[in-house]
Symmetry: D3
Subunit: 236 residues, 6 copies
């Protein structure tokens, strides 16, 4: 991901991105049931670094499991690159935690761009107060050992019913998280950036009392001119 793409994506909503992706034939890249834990935090943009889990097994997932420095969750927290987004496949199961406050703090301190799970976080009130974008389905106090066996890092996974390949660009805002396949991220960023300008224009016009017809989508060519003028005026 080049820096311009990151910069642009940081200004485009997940709603607009799903439309840009839909134009390219993608119907299922918004994570279902995954909500922002701290909607006020900075927007999230970064390539996916993935952790996969399978259901826990009692003989493998006792408290001692965490003593192993190769435990994938612990290893992932230390190796996820700064700027990346840590994405956990929790099989949509929030009955036990995917991670907690200490690990999220470590990731934040290491410069990771955000954390996403389709399960739940423990210590969620603390995480909600952090400056680190975090997305989950609901608060979940129980230790992950009860339900989740962390199995490997950086394989393609499912999260929120969506395919996530390592390196795909994760974008999060106050509504949720969308995945952009790595190969089209620059292109999607460009179009999303332009579409955002147009939608800002539309919203301003509609707020001023204009009807939607002809404007959204722009089917009345007269609007093209008005838009150009508006854009020039706004310097966008």
């Amino acid at each position: 991901m080049n820096e311009e793409t990151r910069r642009k994506l940081a200004t485009v909503s997940t709603a607009t991105l799903t439309t840009v992706l839909f134009k390219r034939g993608y119907r299922n890249l918004f994570l279902q049931g995954v909500l922002p834990l701290n909607p006020g935090a900075a927007r999230m943009v970064g390539p996916a670094f993935t952790l996969r889990t399978i259901p826990a097994r009692e003989d493998l997932d006792g408290l001692d499991a965490f003593k192993d420095p190769e435990h994938p969750q612990r290893k992932g927290v230390e190796t996820c690159p700064p700027g990346a987004v840590f994405v956990i496949d929790s099989r949509g199961d929030a009955r036990a935690a995917s991670a907690g406050g200490i690990l999220v703090t470590r990731l934040m301190r290491r410069g990771v761009a955000g954390i996403v799970t389709d399960g739940g976080f423990r210590d969620s009130p603390e995480i909600a107060a952090m400056d680190m974008p975090a997305y989950h389905s609901r608060p979940s106090a129980p230790t992950n050992l009860i339900l989740h066996h962390c199995i490997d890092l950086n394989l393609p996974i499912a999260c929120g019913g969506v395919p996530v390949f390592p390196g795909d660009i994760m974008v999060g805002d106050g509504e949720g998280v969308v995945v952009i396949p790595a190969g089209i991220a620059d292109d999607v960023a460009k179009e999303g950036f332009e579409q955002t300008i147009y939608e800002d224009f539309v919203l301003e016009r509609v707020a001023a009392g204009h009807a939607i017809r002809g404007l959204y989508p722009m089917t009345d060519p007269a609007n093209r001119e008005v838009f150009s003028a508006w854009r020039a005026e706004k310097g966008r």
Copy 2:
């Protein structure tokens, strides 16, 4: 709906209204799983104007669909009467949006009293900041074209597991939305208004340390007098 009914309903909680409706034999008029997106907004009261959807079909629901001025969603947004509530049957499916910020802005600008769906809204952070009562099940960025084919306006629909006939009175507060069949709205408003006064009295008494027995419901006739005095004092 006459103006007195509207005025009265604006002071009665949905909880109280479900009790008043239960007395008349109605057990299922509170929308299930439909939550306020902006609990701080003014309360919502108005007759239902309905939009019905069925699942999308790829050949009918491409981006060009919105170019048709007769597209029911777009037409509905322009024709829903001021003071009415725009109610969308999204079949309880929030995996794609029912509507987004631009359409909600247009409805608000046109004087519509509120918007309700049993699906989800996109641009939900923006809508949450608007002064327009909006109710949905959860944020949903994906464009509605992915899942919802808008099919017709102002037919009876299901919303939140509840029957909604055009013209039924929709009342929303910080808890959710209740539907009052059109024919009994005046009567329900009157009784709900009276019951609210009594419940305010009860709450004040209970907060002051009185037991519930005999008071709620009022089975001790002594309370009748106390209530009359209280009511006179409060001028209600």
Copy 3:
């Protein structure tokens, strides 16, 4: 529950408690899908006082049911001991209310420590503003008579998929509610209190940039000394 246990539990998070319980072989004592209605309220600690419901039946659950002073919900509200937590088995069904603002006010006034249901509360905006810890699954306006027949008090129940025996210690924080079997409450409180101190130390270290390995869990003996020094310094 002795006073020291209460005091200690008031400082331990539900996340930490589930780990302490997991060490003792308990995997399922965090209430699933039960969320704080007023996360800002004081933390909740107290022995369970239980109310059980079964589905309503039309001939038993008319509005007159509340006129009976022996109605279990009403009787429970007047007899739940100060300091206890009122726990309602609503069979996970939030389509009608488990209780409302007036009853919760009465419980609060009577000195009850909190209220928990795996259904929903009505008058939830009012309850959210009270100083009484309240936990439920979602707002629910409809009167409980529609779905819930209150049947008995102080029997063992299910709540949030968890067994709750009268007298078990309920602990709630901003994340949810955990049940501690009565017989091990003192022991769990002690260990949880100690573990909280260690986790506070870890969090401070991690926030300062230290890696997790060797620290959480403490597998590097060097950390033991640092921790002792930190603890001495903090007077904990």
Copy 4:
């Protein structure tokens, strides 16, 4: 339950019984999601004998639990009266068994009229081959100790989302199970028996090519006479 009531109910379908109950204002007495395991077995009629469960707890529900002769499941199997129906409140959870082949065999041998759970049975292929009406939601091999703590006998329970009071009459056929409140069983049996005769008549007419209008419900008085004649001819 008198013998005539039992005899009559043995000929009335659960579908017809729900209609008879609906006429009396009952809307929720058919067990939801509870299916016949052996549809070919004799129909089931008998008063409810109930077993209640709550979620299991690891310290209470080890294999030794069954060594206690007072274990409610084992005690229930030995004390459920012949002719009664053994009804288990499994909280709708079929992830572990409610009972298995050996206990069902014992109940059958003791003359119990049937067994019902809103969870699942283990050894379900064996039970499916028995001559004992059995109803559950799906096969479930895991021992009940994993999820279900049997807590008491013969209290009112929930089963399949329906209230079941000990002594209520349980009726099962190839479609499922309906609960008839004890106090109205004779009356419901009489009306259901009569309605069955009429529906048999209607079905014969419709199969012979008659339209439904005027016949079902009987709004055309001409049909009354035809029915009387048919009934006389059939000796019913």
Copy 5:
């Protein structure tokens, strides 16, 4: 639908049809959760005749509702054309019946090609024994009045999460039901018919021990010749 299309579709499985539809961009035309009640009955092919329901309301849905000859369910049963498939939008709710044995008998007697609901049928054991293809989600004894208000006929509906327009071709087999948009039915029938021949050939080859590679899909041109010879030999 011309007769050749009907004849061809009667030999193509719903599995094959979903593939043919997928080639044309359709991803969601197989009814989800709708199962054959009588898998042995003749396959079902016919244009959709639709009945729509919304949730019931107590004042509208008493037993007298059926006395109205214009009640949409009753009217639909008498007006659905022979050869058509009666499709009911039950909003996926099987807690009360969509229809029962008498109505299904009437439809069968009138020459209707099949009946489909995303709810449940009552009298399901009787229907299962009929010679009329019937599809539902699970048996459901309660009268439809409890939950379903029949509202109109022959509008586009949702069924099993799929859009069904009146006149679309419904095809059912032992696996379930697929909807073919009316405009492409002839084309889909032709391709499905051809594909079935090829799949029969493949299945025969695979049963005889051939590997799948190169054969399914046919990427090895050598197979083309073998297939031609097989086809000639079989006269297909």
Copy 6:
């Protein structure tokens, strides 16, 4: 897996195996919601060979995907060892097929011991008639390309909410499927085999009219002798 283990496991029910596993601390090794498609087929025993899927993506999962000989599903079908069980992680999603009749036929022909998915099979009526044990959640006609992207072979997976490691022993009967961790399979087989003998004895006794107390579990030492005699007599 040695041959004696295979032979023994072929006589032990999944119900008995869950009890043997529970004794060893395993609570979650029975696949939830995975049912036999052909209950009459020979019992299934064999080591797991796994296929993992993630959600499909439109640019990767067109019909051409199957032309790639390295497509994991196709490759798996050709490389799964005879005697093994082909286990598919379909993320519990049966809205599209996990596999169909042709692939299952190929697996059967290659001597594979069975096939298991937590999704659904297409061509399910054909598979139900095969002599190959097959387990799924429900019939599902749509091609897997719509929802499932096959991603890799022989990694640990989740199936039916249970961890499955390649080489774990899968055992299926008419009730469902249980997973035995590879390292304890011989031990579990031995104990299960013995327990089956005892349970057969118990069942015979209970069928003959004996009470369960003292017999199941065997707490009355007198039964030990009777059992020994029975065993000697039966030559087991």
